[in-house]
């Protein structure tokens, strides 16, 4: 599949890189994610309800899409959201497990349980941006650019998909996370060979 990468974002607890350039660094004591939310003027209060996996995916996708420019929040179905990690929704899973660990303190919360699915982050990005296209979360036994590239190429086999917001989003705790996102765009000069 003839595609090209248009814009990249790398986000860790220590720094934010956009298109390979350092844009922000964490300051001890502050939540880096909340700092970035304010720095980039993201007016989306739902952010504060999200679990850490969603926050990381949301922040990285917002910065990536601002970089792309153009009008946002227009309903479209030609953009897929395909994200990857190894540990699924482990942090939310452990949080929910603590609420049901014993019968004396049994208080399962729907607002925690709903985040115990990795594809909630792909859903949050689709909702934020009004993307009606394909959304999918794929788990790999380890981070493999080759396996991700193959899955991204396959996503373009959907006749409606012309671009994919994609990459690795892992968050195993509030302080251990990594997002490496990119926009993958189909080269206009090459027809979609899978389209029939």
């Amino acid at each position: 599949m003839n595609t090209k990468v248009k814009h990249t974002v790398k986000l860790t607890p220590k720094f934010l890189d956009v298109n390979g350039k350092r844009v922000a660094e964490a300051v001890a004591g502050d939540s880096f994610l909340t700092m970035l939310y304010r720095k980039f003027n993201m007016d989306y209060p739902k952010f504060f309800k999200m679990d850490v996996l969603c926050k990381v995916g949301f922040i990285a996708s917002e910065i990536l899409l601002n970089e792309e420019g153009g009008e946002r929040f227009v309903p479209r179905a030609d953009r897929a959201v395909i994200l990857f990690n190894r540990n699924s929704s482990l942090n939310a899973d452990r949080t929910f497990q603590r609420t049901i660990a014993n019968t004396e303190e049994f208080y399962p919360s729907p607002s925690v349980f709903v985040y115990t699915l990795p594809n909630i982050v792909t859903g949050e990005i689709a909702i934020r941006n009004k993307y009606h296209g394909e959304s999918s979360f794929i788990l790999l036994p380890e981070k493999s650019q080759e396996a991700m590239n193959q899955a991204i190429d396959r996503a373009f086999m959907d006749g409606e998909t012309t671009s994919v917001l994609t990459g690795w989003v892992e968050a195993v705790s509030e302080t251990e996370y990594e997002a490496e996102l990119e926009l993958r765009i189909m080269n206009v000069s090459s027809p979609n060979i899978f389209k029939t």
Partner: protein
């Protein structure tokens, strides 16, 4: 080139082969039961469980004792058992670099989080997928699709693409989930569970039932003249509306249905049935009735399998596809167990009894949290 089914299996409370499961469904059987305090949970629930002793006996017949010991959780056991049976039936060489393993699961080994000696590495289904690929000696990195309740269709769509792109010659697609206090308490906290038999599309429906199952299907490429079950097309679409509530307009399901009908060249008239999600929650069934009507499929018989098995999560998309195929081979669309009086706003032809059909094409529909929806179309040639 087409994508064709060459192997299958179902591991469920209704049997350990597709045939046993099919006969149970046609006889109206279910193992859905009410439990007053399953695993000491402080509420009653209505679920379908695979009995451990029957599972262990089946494992002993199919696998060596040291394999059974190393795949020690129920999730690992039923996933591997379904994979082994389907691979055996398909006749493929699972060691080939032209074969890919694809797993569908929502929560995998999540019950391990309650273990005192927690092995965190083992919790993710990606770990189970790798161990299964290793078991078969397969050299490729396995893919695990985890898209909530639509995972079983997403995994088949991924397989379809792996084959149609020419990258692989065969794909082993395994869907599995087991129940645990984690999952049951979670769905209960969402007020999504009914403590009585679920009633898909019925006026008096009160929520879903959960169930355990694994199901596997092996697909391969074949030439255009091949007989058998073909996967024709698949699509995944998002409501872009809400993370845990279905769209009021059935947006994602409608779009997925339209895409699949368009890509496979099928019209409403070609379809023997539409096998839907039909969870028996107020919102899901209503949403599906809207999507079905918007897609112009209101004259197509609709059936749902949740009344036999409960919602089997990551297995549902594969289990329900395989049972629909098997029933159509006999010219039957199964009854929707639990359905009585239609209780959605849009007209939907829900099957209350098995019906006869000459047609062999059908569409499978699913929707899930995260606003995701999936549809896929299948057709049986020469059957």
């Amino acid at each position: 080139m087409i994508v064709k089914k060459i192997g299958e299996s179902i591991i469920s409370p209704l049997g350990f082969t597709v045939e046993e499961n099919f006969q149970s469904v046609m006889n109206g059987r279910s193992e859905l039961r009410r439990y007053e305090s399953l695993w000491n949970l402080p509420f009653p629930c209505f679920v379908s469980l695979i009995p451990d002793e029957i599972l262990e006996a089946e494992l002993a017949r199919e696998l060596s004792a040291n394999v059974v010991a190393s795949f020690r959780t129920k999730f690992e056991k039923i996933a591997l058992l379904s994979a082994v049976k389907s691979v055996k039936q398909s006749g493929i060489d699972p060691k080939s670099e032209r074969v890919i393993f694809i797993l569908s699961s929502t929560k995998g080994n999540v019950e391990l989080l309650a273990d005192e000696n927690l092995d965190l590495e083992r919790v993710t289904p990606a770990h189970t997928a790798q161990r299964m690929a290793n078991f078969f000696g397969n050299p490729n990195m396995p893919i695990t699709v985890s898209n909530a309740c639509i995972s079983g269709l997403c995994a088949q769509i991924e397989a379809y693409r792996c084959l149609m792109s020419g990258q692989y010659d065969a794909a082993v697609v395994i869907g599995a989930d087991v129940l645990s206090p984690f999952i049951v308490a979670g769905f209960q906290s969402l007020k999504a569970l009914s403590d009585e038999q679920c009633r898909p599309f019925s006026a008096n429906r009160r929520g879903l039932n959960l169930g355990e199952a694994a199901a596997a299907v092996v697909y391969t490429v074949a030439d255009d003249s091949a007989d058998g079950w073909r996967m024709l097309a698949g699509a995944v679409r998002n409501d872009a509306n809400h993370i845990s509530g279905p769209s009021r307009t059935g947006e994602g399901s409608y779009r997925a249905l339209c895409s699949v009908l368009n890509d496979s060249g099928l019209t409403a008239n070609d379809l023997a049935c539409l096998n839907v999600h039909g969870t028996s929650t107020m919102y899901n069934d209503e949403m599906e009735s809207i999507a079905i009507n918007r897609a112009g499929l209101n004259a197509v018989p609709v059936n749902a399998m949740k009344g036999y098995y409960g919602h089997t999560l990551g297995a549902a998309g594969i289990l329900e596809t395989l049972l629909t195929m098997r029933a159509l081979e006999d010219g039957k669309v199964p009854a929707t167990r639990g359905f009585d009086e239609l209780g959605v706003t849009q007209p939907v032809l829900v099957t209350s009894e098995p019906i006869d059909t000459q047609k062999r094409a059908f569409v499978k529909l699913l929707s899930g949290f995260g606003g995701c929806n999936a549809a896929a179309s299948f057709n049986g040639y020469g059957l």
